[in-house]
């Protein structure tokens, strides 16, 4: 009986192809929207996780101020270079320590100028952040200690100021500082946060403090733990040491924050996941609307086919068989819509993923759920019209014009 109902439903759909497609449109859009949003969302999450993994899972960031929540922090005294040196000296589990201070500044060369971010740090900056040189060299330890006027620039800065030329040896001006470019970094592209990681100028920390910032503050200390040491243990050690150095009593909260990359990854992917969920929920509403569209058309169809129903009942179709016929028709409509929506979603999310440069991650359970949901919509919204058909009085139905 089910096979016959299925065949009848397909035939009915072919007969009213235009109407069927319009009826399915709600479901098509709903399913496609859910799948596309979730696919792109998963892609974004994957991208975040990957980029953080690229940075190195043994990286920790020590920043000033207590983290209060996303984007908020309380103010607190800055670190000094001595803090970083103390960490390097007293925590043996650390492989590298890179104290940093940075500010926005305009870089000028010849007639060109470019607004960029200047970061002062030590030579360990390059180790900790896993930055390689395209050409030239990084500044030496002695240059760093003496506060020499040298800098390493990123690809974006090179393009803006030097166009096609090699920048090595050129003197670039940063505020009052005229520094010699000794190295060019390999491009790294966009960061997780969307900032350009190649739009940077790195100078020795001491040079930055004396000649650009005019103070001896350090706003961020990046450290990397040795390979076989757990970041949790390192984190606790850093916290203990910094509390002593910052003279915090037992009842005071930390006025600094140690974050490892795992935490950052969780935080960021949590955000993208929440957005994905929200957008998916909005898209799911359109599935519901699509279901109502199906109910509407099925009710019209039942009325239109009253005579057919009368004939079937007279010939010997049981109530349940009529019910099944119309229910199957609604389910065929909705699940065909689901199927088309699925294909549409796969195609459009592939295209969108390419355009947005997000990895394509098909979330199979979500695709399956969207499809099953669309079929369920057919059952739920097809039931009322189908029951109306099944309960018809054959005599009345046969008289219907």
């Amino acid at each position: 009986m089910l096979g016959i109902a299925l065949r009848l439903a397909l035939r009915e759909m072919r007969r009213n192809i235009m109407r069927s497609v319009l009826t399915m449109l709600g479901i098509i859009i709903g399913v496609a929207a859910v799948i596309v949003l979730v696919t792109l969302g998963s892609g974004a999450t994957r991208q975040v996780t990957q980029q953080i993994a690229n940075l190195g899972s043994n990286l920790l960031m020590v920043s000033v101020g207590k983290r209060m929540g996303p984007g908020q922090s309380s103010t607190a005294p800055a670190f000094k270079l001595a803090d970083a040196e103390a960490l390097a000296r007293e925590v043996p589990a650390l492989a590298a320590v890179a104290p940093q201070a940075s500010s926005a500044s305009t870089a000028i060369f010849a007639n060109e100028n470019w607004g960029t971010t200047v970061t002062g740090s030590t030579e360990q900056y390059f180790t900790v952040n896993n930055r390689q040189l395209a050409e030239g060299r990084i500044f030496t330890g002695s240059e760093a200690r003496s506060g020499a006027a040298v800098c390493v620039i990123g690809e974006t800065v090179r393009v803006k100021l030097f166009a096609g030329q090699s920048p090595l040896g050129a003197k670039m001006r940063l505020r009052k500082l005229s520094c010699e470019i000794v190295g060019l970094l390999k491009p790294k592209g966009q960061s997780t946060m969307g900032s350009d990681q190649d739009d940077i100028v790195i100078v020795p920390l001491r040079t930055f403090q004396r000649r650009i910032a005019g103070n001896d503050d350090v706003s961020l200390i990046q450290v990397s733990a040795k390979d076989d040491i757990s970041t949790d243990a390192v984190k606790q050690e850093l916290q203990r040491l910094l509390r002593i150095r910052r003279h915090l009593s037992a009842d005071e909260d930390d006025n600094f924050n140690v974050m490892d990359m795992k935490e950052i990854a969780t935080m960021l992917s949590g955000t993208t996941q929440m957005m994905t969920g929200l957008l998916g929920a909005v898209a799911a509403v359109s599935l519901l609307v699509g279901g109502i569209g199906i109910m509407n058309i099925m009710l019209v169809s039942v009325t239109e086919r009253t005579r057919e129903i009368g004939i079937r009942l007279a010939i010997g179709a049981l109530e349940n068989e009529i019910l099944l016929q119309f229910l199957v028709e609604a389910v065929v409509l909705s699940s065909s819509g689901g199927l088309i929506g699925m294909v549409l979603a796969l195609v459009s999310s592939s295209l969108l993923a390419a355009v947005l440069q997000v990895p394509l991650v098909f979330n199979l359970p979500v695709i399956a759920i969207a499809f099953v949901f669309s079929a369920t919509v057919g059952i739920v919204f097809g039931y009322v019209p189908a029951r109306k058909a099944a309960r018809m009085d054959p005599i009345e139905a046969l008289r219907h014009e």
Binding site: E308, I311, A314, I315, G316, L318, I395, L398
Partner: protein, 242 residues
């Protein structure tokens, strides 16, 4: 398989006992049948006549198990139809009854063959549905027209399809509601010839409503309705058994 006169046969095909049917209630109550009794033996060919509003359609609906009497009993093969549920009555239609309507009532945009297959499919017969349908269409003289839809067939041909659909299940009782009402006299005669053949050769009992005495003449017995009552119930003159 030959019609015998009433009361001799211990088991009639069907029997109506003081059947009344009232539509509406209270002031608006309108009696359509006011105490109708008759029995039909297997193999009979009965014409039901009467002016419109005389209750013959109501009677046909009750015979077809599509409507229930308000009072009185309708027994089909000694089963009291009044005690059956809606589904049981549907099954009774499915297995024992065939219907022919004035308006043909074929499924539009569905081939003659598929129309004829329909009752077999509901019977749950899996094998040879197609062959049986071909054969039924052949017996009504529509060989070669199997794949035409009702829209592509003439009125007479459509009624033949309807007859094929009614007899393909080999029913005990064929109920025909003005089967020639929409046809010219030539086609009407052809249809009546067909019905007579099925009655004679296959012993299918036929109850047919008609307005035309010409058509009623094909039947062996004519029942006249008037105002919800049977006015007369007689065998046709010339009935060999009379």
């Amino acid at each position: 398989m030959i019609a015998t006169s009433a009361n001799e046969n211990p088991q009639p095909l069907l029997e109506l006992q003081q059947v009344t049917k009232v539509y509406g209630s209270g002031e608006a109550a309108m009696p359509a049948l006011r105490g109708v009794s008759f029995r039909i033996e297997p193999g009979e060919f009965v014409a039901v006549m009467g002016p419109s509003g005389s209750g013959k359609s109501t009677c046909m609906n009750i015979l077809g198990c599509m409507d229930q009497p308000t009072a009185g009993r309708y027994c089909f093969q000694n089963v009291d139809v009044g005690l059956l549920s809606r589904n049981q009555r549907t099954l009774l239609r499915r297995h024992y009854l065939g219907f022919i309507f004035q308006g043909f009532n074929l499924l539009n945009r569905t081939s003659a063959l598929e129309n004829v297959e329909l009752p077999l499919i509901y019977r749950g017969i899996d094998s040879d549905v197609r062959r049986a349908a071909y054969q039924a269409l052949d017996t009504v003289g529509l060989k070669g027209w199997e794949h035409h839809t009702p829209g592509e067939l003439s009125g007479g041909q459509q009624q033949r399809v309807a007859i094929a659909r009614a007899i393909v299940t080999q029913p005990l009782l064929l109920l025909a509601d003005e089967p020639t009402g929409n046809l010219d006299s030539k086609r009407s005669e052809e249809i009546m010839e067909l019905l007579t053949t099925f009655n004679r050769d296959r012993g299918i009992t036929i109850v047919m409503v008609t307005h035309e005495a010409d058509m009623a003449a094909y039947a062996k017995r004519t029942v006249h309705f008037r105002d919800g009552l049977i006015e007369s119930d007689q065998n046709q003159p010339g009935d060999s058994l009379c």
